[in-house]
């Protein structure tokens, strides 16, 4: 076994958790209080009226009313045209339009924009991000992600991973990521950042992070936000800053392959930029920002193009408004 293999194995042993390890909620709340931490839950949304109500109900009941683990639950919305915000507010979430947070910096499309603006708007020492499209929501989707940050001061960033409903044989579980992870991100990590392959689902939308880390990271506003975070934090702090928690199962919308292509294109843009910024490649040509797909109609083949430009927001700590609001 190589030294790299050993490092990954050691990390898997010490920094990979199962949610059941954090079953004792009273103990978790006590530890949070003793550590003097505040925790914010952020749910980025865009037209999620079908699932948002249930998420708010479950998190508020279980992690605020019953066990006071969360200090705020906030929905940051990209401009839903359905009743997402109305439903979220009716069940007690704080709701914000992303465009109304730091309006002087403009408004950009993309989930990463909501995540970035949440750092300014929310108060917690820890921010836990949870996607809004989870059908089988449970309080563990937040509690089991913040728990390693509460119990282990050296851990900075906790990712979720799940079972995916593929074939299972004997006792081996299909511990893979999604399609984009397995055919794009994992091969890239294996080549350039092999230690990061230990993160079983690097693209999962559920993760909890300390404010000091979030405020220091640049934020791609689109698909590349998660991958870029991992690379940036890994380069500054190493694999030991990460942990991951097994949440067993997550049921969500399945995305069409054409959408996954766009996602992969955006991720590659962010990835290439980091290779260049960290001096890992000598020279890259100017990269095209137009993603090309094709659709066939009889014997006619038509180009479908989409401009995908992974714009990045600067680290939040560089904004004077942020430093003033949070006393940094």
């Amino acid at each position: 076994m190589s030294e790299l293999d050993q490092r990954i194995s050691r990390w898997l042993e010490t920094n990979t958790f199962h949610h059941s390890e954090f079953w004792d909620m009273q103990e978790l709340v006590r530890a949070k209080r003793d550590a003097g931490l505040t925790i914010s839950l952020c749910i980025p949304t865009l037209n999620e009226e079908k699932t948002i109500g249930k998420e708010i109900i479950v998190f508020k009941s279980e992690l605020m009313d019953r066990y006071p683990l969360l200090d705020e639950i906030a929905v940051i919305d990209s401009g839903s045209s359905d009743r997402t915000l109305e439903i979220a507010a009716s069940f007690g979430a704080d709701t914000y339009l992303s465009s109304e947070i730091l309006p002087q910096y403009g408004s950009k499309p993309g989930k990463g924009e909501n995540l970035w603006k949440a750092i300014h708007q929310l108060r917690g020492d820890i921010i836990c991000y949870v996607d809004a499209d989870i059908k089988n929501i449970h309080s563990k989707f937040a509690s089991a992600l913040v728990a390693p940050l509460i119990y282990r001061p050296e851990v900075q960033y906790v990712k979720a991973f799940y079972d995916r409903p593929l074939a299972v044989s004997d006792d081996l579980r299909p511990s893979g990521g999604g399609r984009v992870t397995e055919i794009l991100v994992r091969p890239l990590f294996s080549m350039f950042f092999p230690e990061l392959t230990a993160l079983i689902q690097p693209l999962s939308g559920e993760y909890a992070v300390r404010r000091e880390v979030l405020e220091s990271l640049p934020f791609p506003i689109g698909y590349g936000v998660e991958t870029s975070h991992l690379i940036d934090l890994y380069k500054s702090s190493g694999l030991g800053a990460f942990a991951q928690t097994d949440l067993d199962n997550r049921i969500h919308r399945n995305q069409p392959t054409s959408d996954l292509g766009k996602m992969a294109f955006g991720i590659l843009q962010g990835f290439m930029k980091r290779l260049r910024d960290y001096g890992m490649v000598k020279e890259l040509p100017d990269l095209h920002g137009l993603f090309r797909q094709f659709q066939a109609e009889g014997h006619r083949y038509e180009q479908v193009t989409r401009e995908i430009f992974e714009e990045e927001r600067p680290p939040m700590i560089t904004l004077p408004e942020y430093r003033e609001r949070h006393g940094r």
Binding site: E49, K50, G53, K54, I57, S61, R66, R83
Partner: protein, 390 residues
């Protein structure tokens, strides 16, 4: 969280309670979601039992126990403790383990399999200690909270039956919770019997039963017609409901066996037994052709019972509904209430909210009326606690 506070006997104004209980909105709704997303087909309620057990433990209930029938019970000891009240909800749902139990929450509604029957009832049972705490109500009587198993079909109320046969405390009055329909007031039970008519080809006797005469499906259809004739003669005092017919798998494969499920209901004592005997005679004497056999199996029985519309408990429940501006509708029951009334225990079944599409995949419950339902339950419970119903 669930520590019980000092006693405070108010005048029981349901309208005030209704408003106060909105503070428990998210906790109650989360319990509905969680109870709703746990599959609990009849005879396999273990995971839902565990959920309820955890909730009872968090609320500090005494004597939390799982009995041999799989029921889960917990007790809130009363201030005096000479009497014992029971609030129950059946845990089982009509849906199978593999059906999608995802709950959706919208503006003012929740939808998902089994929410009305009976995830909402289970959620209210789980939340009841908090409800009493929020309203600062300490009962004089002990209050047993019971989640029962095996209510539906062949389960034949086995959970409640076992509990009543083995309860360590005599029950002085009882309340059964059903998710819908708010305003439902059940204080009587119909006599009922459930049966299954089986038709089958003996092993190896016929490869193609249709070749030699009417096949299994045709014979079952004949039995449906015969049951309908009996019902027409007995109506309106008695009814025969055909619940399901199962036979065959496709166009070109003759079924080798089939089954017809039916239920006899009657408010008249003795009618159910008499009709049951008539059906048994019919099955035994119907000529169904060579190589086929028909048999009857009776799987469930209830005796008719009635608390009476003038009973103080019934009057109080009706007055409470009137106060809340809800129209009451009397609906005889064939479920757990029948066993309680059969034992002479003053009992009611109440619905908690309005709903729609019962027993369909899009079963839905309205959220706002739930608080009327809770206020009604508390009012009836306090009335029972005063010892008036017996």
């Amino acid at each position: 969280m669930c520590k019980r506070t000092a006693k405070a006997r108010s005048d029981g104004a349901p309208l005030t309670h209704r408003e106060k209980l909105r503070r428990l909105r998210e906790i109650l709704f989360a319990n509905v979601v969680m109870a709703g997303e746990i599959p609990a087909p009849t005879g396999a309620e273990r995971r839902l039992t565990r959920f309820l057990s955890d909730r009872f433990t968090e609320c500090g209930l005494a004597n939390i126990s799982l009995d041999h029938a799989g029921n889960i019970a917990g007790m809130l000891p009363g201030r005096v403790g000479r009497r014992t009240l029971l609030v129950s909800a059946h845990l089982d749902k009509i849906w199978s383990e593999t059906d999608d139990h995802t709950v959706s929450v919208g503006a003012g509604m929740m939808s998902g399999r089994g929410l009305a029957d009976n995830s909402l009832g289970v959620a209210v049972l789980a939340t009841l200690p908090l409800i009493l705490e929020e309203l600062e109500i300490d009962l004089d009587a002990n209050l047993v909270l019971l989640g029962t198993t095996r209510s539906f079909g062949r389960g034949d109320l086995a959970g409640m039956r076992f509990f009543l046969e083995n309860a360590s405390h005599p029950i002085d009055a009882a309340l059964c919770l059903e998710g819908i329909e708010l305003g439902r007031l059940s204080y009587s039970s119909l006599g009922m019997a459930r049966g299954e008519i089986h038709v089958s080809a003996g092993s190896g006797e016929l490869d193609h039963p249709e070749d030699t005469g009417p096949g299994v499906a045709t014979i079952l259809a004949g039995f449906v017609v015969a049951l309908r004739r009996i019902e027409e003669r007995e109506s309106p005092a008695s009814r025969i409901l055909v619940g399901s017919i199962e036979a065959g798998s496709g166009y070109s494969v003759a079924p080798r066996s089939g089954m017809l499920r039916f239920e006899i209901r009657s408010g008249e004592a003795g009618h159910v037994a008499r009709i049951g005997e008539e059906i048994a005679e019919m099955v035994a004497t119907t000529s169904i052709g060579d190589g086929l056999r028909a048999s009857l199996e009776m799987i469930a029985h209830r005796s008719p019972g009635d608390l009476g519309s003038d009973h103080p408990l019934v009057r109080h429940a009706r007055e409470t509904l009137e106060l809340l501006g809800i129209e009451s509708h009397v609906a005889p029951s064939v479920s757990e209430l029948a066993l309680l009334l059969d034992r002479g225990i003053p009992s009611l079944t109440l619905g908690i909210t309005k709903g729609e599409n019962r027993h369909s995949p899009s079963e839905a419950i309205s959220l706002e009326p739930i608080f009327d339902g809770l206020a009604q339950i508390v009012s009836v419970l306090r009335f029972m606690d005063e010892g008036k119903p017996s």
